[in-house]
Symmetry: D3
Subunit: 285 residues, 6 copies
């Protein structure tokens, strides 16, 4: 099933703000001066590298907010795997509006496609294992819902959306609460009925966490050997999530240890934009 | 001279929005349950890798908006070169507030320090040449002013801030306007008194652009040999800016061709966050 | 004459905010997972109890903001008296959008219909007397214009809309100003040309208020006997408004004392929602 | 443990909007005219009926936003059980500011205390059973986080905060999806790892839901006999939640059937405000 | 009595928006480059021409939002008549902040003082007559509350604040409603209890309006002779307001006709800013 | 070439805010009561005096936001020179919406046309000289982009849009920086590559500014004789801008001194609205 789109009421405000940030106090000096008011054009959003497209609704909203007369015809919807040269969408209409919205549309599309592409890469690398790749709260300020959507498009799962939808006891909580057991007990009492996840740094803490009945345990910065040991020791009594500096190169080895989830902050905090461009000239794919 | 900070009225709204995005509809379930209301703590923002710090005002604003009783003492202000283990700032006060604001504060600090660090790397690499590194409009939606500030902190210059503060005629404008000369003439007529920059793909276009009196010429995707030829041909009649896929590895060679500026979109569109953490435990630097 | 609707620019922002509050950071998990993207449905807004409908524009705006393809056909417009089973409107279109907007639409419709129904009940109870029912500033934060509209739909009048459109001297003002006469004189001097209303607790204060030339006198917490005495004593020299814990059971007796207005805070501060539901199944009325 | 307060960044925007709604375009005509600029006063927030206080932060924010010189000293914090005459807080400072903010402060305090009081009433009534009272998404538009907080203060639990933090398959979803089993399967596939709740109307549907592995089953509009039968039949294979027109009078009987949770929309959609007043005169409790 | 100030919650948002509009995406390039970060200065707001000061809260808010360390000491508060050279306030503190906020502070102060000064001029000119000067809804978009406040400061009264706080039947309403009498009757029915004002162009319409019981009659574009006739004819049966192109030169003659009010749109739609400057050098008054 | 319009995303928010300011909490009492819901009308925006029209997009947006069914047909677009009686546009559709939006639409149109008309008057007066008229940052808070647009429509140029898009060293900067030369040097160092403008009061300062290499020099409050001397002395080494109390009467003499630009704050800070009205009656032009 394709990933359901975000509702327009969620997409529009962030695109509107991005457009205003780019238009400033005088609008598009270049386009207004150089492009005749009645010029029309047909352009293409085209991939210049391999990846997964995400964010077409954001891009389309940028064009439509600048000029409702611009038509967007999507050829490769969010989630499609792209090859260099693939045409993603056709954008037709008043040339001024298309050029004025171009950069904002691409800023969303290239960034969100970058998120989806990196996620897809990880998901492919661990295919066949029980592990699922997921993102974190290490997101770009103001873009959390958009980035989390792009992670889903790339085949990943969303960990917590915010501080309010799950309990995750991290090392600093443990330090202040005075130990893992006390922290878990306090969480159970304070947020009854909500699954409790706790971060552990070593196997002794793991034992404590299992003993205190944690639902999920975040194994922080452990190498595959240690992770394998943790999986064996846990023996299914808790869901295990590996975390900490895991990359495309190391993720397969991590996944093969038998953990349930692998969370990677870099999916959203260190994104390499996917190279997508708007081509005015006829395009040969 | 240190880079002047952004005024608080520019910083606060974006931090406020980021906090609300994280707090959701119930606030910080974990901290509220696990940390006693009267617990106080002393924590440190500490670098885990080499780089340049940027965004401390954003981080401090996150802490202060959550609890005005939190004190922030900056030890290494924006622009400081960091070594792993360097203490950047001390954060003291109510433990709940510090932990609730932690992620939002770090999201700004790690991202903006990432921007500054990458810029600093480029600036160092081209030191001694006439070239200056600058960023583009390929920014994260909603974060343009913040990212451009971080580029300045890292020793870079800001190209246009938006569509409204300079003329930059790109390939798509040229295509629609019907040639470089016509585009430049239209820009001169439509935006008198504003310097005109134009993008060219080859030396023939360069000649056209010089002939039409462009103030700055963007040399897109040319290798060092071609750039050197362009510099010679221009002979000072226009400012030259190199652009297109330039990386830390290739930038020195580009700078040595004699161009005046090198613009790199990746400084803001493909940022690797700098690893900064909040340490509750006493920290030995 | 039907009550004129509020302009869309007043309705849309409050509905948009309510939708975002419900959609959170990931949209409608259930509907997106369970309902096929191309499913269409025909649904009905139907009354489950007796009352007066109000707020259809708010409900329709919720549906349209989620998906402009949703069609709303109103069968019983705002102000209509409903019987259980009455069909209020037909909502047709993409099933996902209808289900996603359902709760927000109903939250407005049930609440505002609750306000209108309670008002209508009071208005009916005092029919034939000179008294008019009106609401107060005891409203739900953020919903004042909407609630006041619903009061009008239910046959009531709106007292002040805010602190800025009339003078109402309450007991605390009198206490600080040093007496009713001084308060009225100060009000006349400070807000010339604006009608002055003053709250009194007993007949001695009533005499003072009349003597000082109050335009309207709020008779606070008086029983019908005392109210009747007040009406007689005033002899038309001021408009009289009864207030304080008046309910559907007691309002007729109050109205028959001859007061001009009866203000009831509970119309907006203690609202019982009208039971309206969205029915997917064919509905027999 | 007392319920942790909502962060100020969540409270302030809604209070600010409520104040602006009341101040309109000219501010407080009455107070400005009647109360001298230099008058100071000491006032008390006092309960006029029995209940539970909630929303003091909202009230205090209203006073402080109008005049930072106003001091608020809380005597009975959120969650305290009140008797008529109990003094909740003392508000001291510039008289104008106190009177201008009074209505907005009380609108929050009376409403949220009303929510907490009703919840407390239910929680007390079912004390000793395994059932927990919880609220729904039937909230006042714009006040969801505030109302849900008040439910917690009153001893209740929060069901979903929005469409995005849990799966709840309702009758309309079932109707469109083509049956309970298909709906649950689709939810599992579309939102892996998220607990699934489904609404059932009769015992046949209950069996289907259990068979399909629902985590929680919402038993809609069943009488205690039927509920008891459902509890027996389920035999712990799913969490059971009773719902539908349950009131203070009927809730004990429902709780004694053995269900795990009782959700009551009226806790937030049909709130009777708690009578709290601001007293300028010395107050004898 | 001095005109009460607008509450800070009304002032701050409009000042914040104005600052952001001026700061753009990079802040104050000039001050940041030219003024040392630790420079402090003492400056004076000084009148350069005769007039009435208004808007000091807006100016002070601009300084404080840029830097809370800036101290503002008001020497001539809103409403004071100024002579050229009069010192209005002293502004002390960090030089950067003072210079960055200067233009925004002055834009409010010069404009609002311009409004107050013009109003004061009219009010002085008609002193001793029964007429009062008032403003209209012809205001600068976004500045209505501020401009209306400045009118009060200048000794004028505020006509309607908006479409929602009074009935004013204008020529276009009469044209569509089919005559003055029908329009007044409809207004009475639709907005019971609200005073009705109607615009008339000649004495025949005046008679109609009086006959239909208008509370206030707006005499549009009549010369003093005609106005005098209208006053005589009305004989106190309605409040009379003269309007239409009345200037400082003609207003005394209009006021002496005996009308109750004179409304002048130009007070807010065609404002000449009062010349106030910020002086860094010691200032001799 | 006609001045390009501002994008709708820039126009809509300011119009929306203005409408809400006028509608308040109850909408248009008069129109709702007096005009039948189904009445339609044809109206005309008509000039009552000579000038230049500007702001039709703002006016049209006001009508469309109130009722999308209103049609606007522009007959004399922005920039057209108007004679009294000229029909500017035809507005057709539901009478209620047209009357409700009328004042907001006119407030924009009359103000912005006032700006354009005054600018046009200056531009005409200096036609044939080398001087260009330009505006300043002395704008109405919240309306900078709109006013600057109107200046362009009137044939003027826009000086800085804000503090962030150019360096302008004013007298207060010079005073704090310790002289013109030091200020210019600091600006060059702090904002490399950005043209530097500096304000001078006399010819000695002019020499200093030229010596320090200022790009543009603002000649403040000099009479034509002094300006002529400044032009001769500068001999093309810097761009010269005259400023300070220049009016339509004196501008030609200033322009003939040979300066390059003349900046006039009054174009935006002291605007006389152009008299444009909405006529319901058939109109003979």
């Amino acid at each position: 099933m394709p990933i359901p789109p975000l509702p327009a009421v969620m997409v529009e405000p962030v695109v509107r703000a991005a457009l205003l940030e780019d238009l400033g106090r005088a609008g598009d000096l270049t386009t207004d001066a150089v492009v005749p008011a009645d010029a029309r054009t047909e352009t293409f959003l085209a991939a210049r590298q391999q990846g997964v497209v995400a964010g077409l609704d954001f891009a389309a909203t940028a064009f439509r907010l600048i000029d409702p007369a611009i038509e967007i015809q999507v050829e490769r919807p969010d989630g499609t795997r792209l090859q260099p040269g693939d045409r993603i969408a056709t954008i037709r209409g008043p040339a001024r509006g298309i050029l004025t919205a171009e950069r904002t549309a691409l800023n969303f599309l290239c960034h969100l496609s970058g998120v989806a592409s990196a996620t897809r890469g990880i998901a492919d690398a661990i295919a066949g294992t029980r592990a699922q790749v997921c993102c974190t709260r290490k997101t770009m300020p103001g873009l959390r819902a958009a980035q989390k959507y792009a992670v889903r498009v790339g085949g990943g799962a969303n960990h917590r959306f915010g501080l309010d939808d799950a309990v995750l006891i991290k090392d600093n909580h443990v330090a202040i609460a005075g130990g893992i057991v006390r922290a878990i007990e306090a969480a159970r009492a304070g947020s009854p009925g909500i699954p409790v996840e706790v971060e552990v740094d070593d196997l002794a803490q793991l034992d404590e966490a299992i003993g205190a009945g944690a639902d999920t345990i975040l194994l922080d910065n452990m190498d595959p050997g240690r992770l394998r040991e943790a999986v064996a020791r846990t023996a299914g009594r808790a869901r295990l999530e590996a975390s900490g500096g895991i990359t495309l190169d190391t993720v397969r080895a991590v996944a093969e240890t038998g953990v349930d989830a692998i969370s990677i902050g870099a999916l959203t905090h260190s994104v390499t934009a996917l190279d997508v461009s708007l081509e005015v000239h006829p395009w040969q794919s």
